[in-house]
């Protein structure tokens, strides 16, 4: 389905003004710094208040996928896309298991990165480095896929007036400038703006589409004729896949290193607890709304393929703007919200990589260097990573693009180190290390094996590769732990 340019010159100017205003926010973050050290730069001085914390958690957790991917999925799969609402809630359910204790530990021992906790808990540099490398790869892939998405979006929305390459370069520059100006403070403050924009965007678009096209109730008869498969409950295999999706996404996302840094950055436990209490209800006004928009879209527009269906919200808005002149501002709001959602996730991932490389890798090699030296190194790393990401997003051949989509499968494997590490004192670094290697190997073997043509299904028995890896990971940890316990009894 062909689409006219969504933005006229006024729209393009509005969006670019908004984007450049983020640099101003970055400058505010720079002038608000209290100390010249890593804790102040990467964790905003560990003093993040309730309002900022909630909005930065919200903006970071909901990426462009919420605005584009979830409604596209609902367009294609119907009501089974409701799994997205559940897994977004389940992420907070998993935080409940480890965040209270990790937050308390971070205050006591001044952690800056996930690696700080791993090193302190397991006293193993080998394990810390391995987990840091997995985090960097997963976050790097995240940045790359989001940069590509934003490039295509702006190129399409401006009807080619801004090219794919120009869009990626300009947006990356803006993000890296405000990030290196004020670190977490700038990122969290820009997240506030982006979070508000995202929430307002989703709610406005949902209400307008709901009013104009009618809700699920008014379209259900039409939709029942057009897409009868939407009404059948999932069969046993689909239900297994449903559960597997909830587990793999919620476990992977709950251990995002940039989300963990926000747990450290909260001013106190009450503020963190209140933010999470509010966060658990956000899928009902964000994810659920976009799923309903996708289902309404399926009753209005037929025959979109996979990539076109990702733009179903935009198609509905364009239709609406053609019928009701004067509401083209809705398209600007929607696009601003998508851009905000993508940027708030990319800048947080960039900051997390920069802190991981600086604190968990470089600082270990050069333990005696000053804080200002580390800060300078961290900022340089941000620029370097962004440069590499931009080059890869522009130049990467499509044939190896699949490799860069492995994120959650890898992150799932580091979850036992956090969940068990926080609560179970007897688990050793060796158990976690062996489990991590086995889990990572199994996940990659299934995924890469499938892509390279081996007779391995991408989701054996309807279960994601990352979950198979995690199951083997946990079994291995259990066996090793029992073995270590029995040896202790023998030698006592």
């Amino acid at each position: 389905m062909e689409m006219p340019p969504l933005l006229d010159n006024t729209g393009i100017i509005f969006i670019f003004l908004y984007l450049f205003s983020l640099i101003g926010v970055g400058l505010m973050g720079h002038f608000s710094k209290k100390e010249n050290n890593l804790g102040d730069f990467y964790l905003a001085g560990r003093g993040m208040g309730g309002f900022v914390l909630f909005l930065t958690l919200y903006a970071t957790q909901y990426s462009g996928n919420t605005m584009i991917g979830f409604s596209g999925r609902a367009y294609r799969q119907g009501f089974t896309a409701l799994v997205t609402v559940t897994f977004m809630c389940a992420i907070i359910g998993l935080y409940f298991i480890y965040a209270p204790k990790l937050h308390a530990l971070s205050k006591k021992f001044s952690y800056i990165t996930l690696g700080d906790f791993i090193q302190h808990r397991f006293k193993s540099t080998k394990l810390t480095v391995f987990i840091s490398v997995i985090s960097i790869i997963a976050l790097g892939n995240y940045i790359l896929t989001n940069l590509k998405a934003i490039g295509f979006l702006i190129h399409g929305a401006t009807g080619g007036q801004v090219s794919f390459i120009q869009a990626i370069i300009v947006l990356s520059l803006i993000m890296v400038i405000y990030e290196t100006l004020g670190g977490m403070r700038s990122v969290a403050w820009t997240d506030m703006i982006q979070g508000v924009l995202l929430l307002l965007g989703v709610i406005t678009i949902f209400i307008i589409i709901y009013i104009h096209y009618g809700g699920i109730h008014s379209i259900s008869t039409k939709l029942e004729e057009m897409r009868p498969e939407f009404w059948s409950p999932p069969n046993w295999e689909e239900k297994r896949l449903w559960l597997s999706t909830i587990l793999v996404v919620s476990i992977g996302v709950s251990v995002y290193p940039h989300a963990i840094q926000r747990i450290y950055a909260a001013k106190n436990s009450n503020i963190l607890r209140n933010s999470m209490q509010l966060m658990i209800f956000m899928p009902f006004v964000t994810t659920l709304f976009m799923v309903i928009v996708g289902i309404v879209g399926a009753s209005e527009i037929e025959g979109l393929n996979r990539s076109s269906s990702e733009q179903i919200s935009i198609f509905l808005l364009v239709n609406l703007a053609q019928q009701i002149p004067g509401i083209s501002w809705l398209i600007i709001i929607f696009l601003s919200a998508v851009i905000a959602a993508i940027m708030s996730t990319v800048d947080s991932a960039l900051l997390a990589i920069s802190s991981t490389v600086t604190q968990d890798l470089y600082h270990k090699v050069k333990p005696s260097v000053s804080q200002s030296h580390l800060l300078l190194f961290g900022k340089s790393i941000s620029w370097l990573i962004m440069l590499i990401a931009v080059i890869l997003a522009i130049k990467l051949p499509q044939t190896i693009w699949q490799l860069f989509q492995i994120k959650l499968e890898l992150l799932c494997q580091i979850a036992p180190a956090i969940f068990f590490g926080v609560h179970i004192k007897s688990i050793s670094s060796k158990s976690i290390y062996i489990g991590l290697i086995l889990g990572t190997f199994i996940s990659l073997f299934i995924m890469v094996g499938n892509w390279s043509g081996l007779p391995i299904p991408v989701k054996p028995l309807g279960i994601h590769a990352g979950l198979w890896g995690l199951i083997i990971n946990c079994i291995s940890i259990y066996i090793r732990n029992e073995y270590e316990k029995s040896r202790k009894v023998i030698f006592r």
Partner: protein, 69 residues
Amino acid sequence: MKRNILYSLAVILNVLTVPWLFVSDNTHTLGGFPLWALYSIVSTFIYAIIISYFLRNYWSFSASEEGLE
């Protein structure tokens, strides 16, 4: 309540949000939603309320030093 029971409950409630009991001949609707889809939304909302309650009342308990063992 023991900590491992509390965490197991959080996980089990999550597993229950999958519409396990709805079979293919069940295509009744309510408010435009198929019943199984409505079940997924409502059960997820109940899950959210319970986790919110856990966060409010068991945060300090979850943060305390005693391990699961």
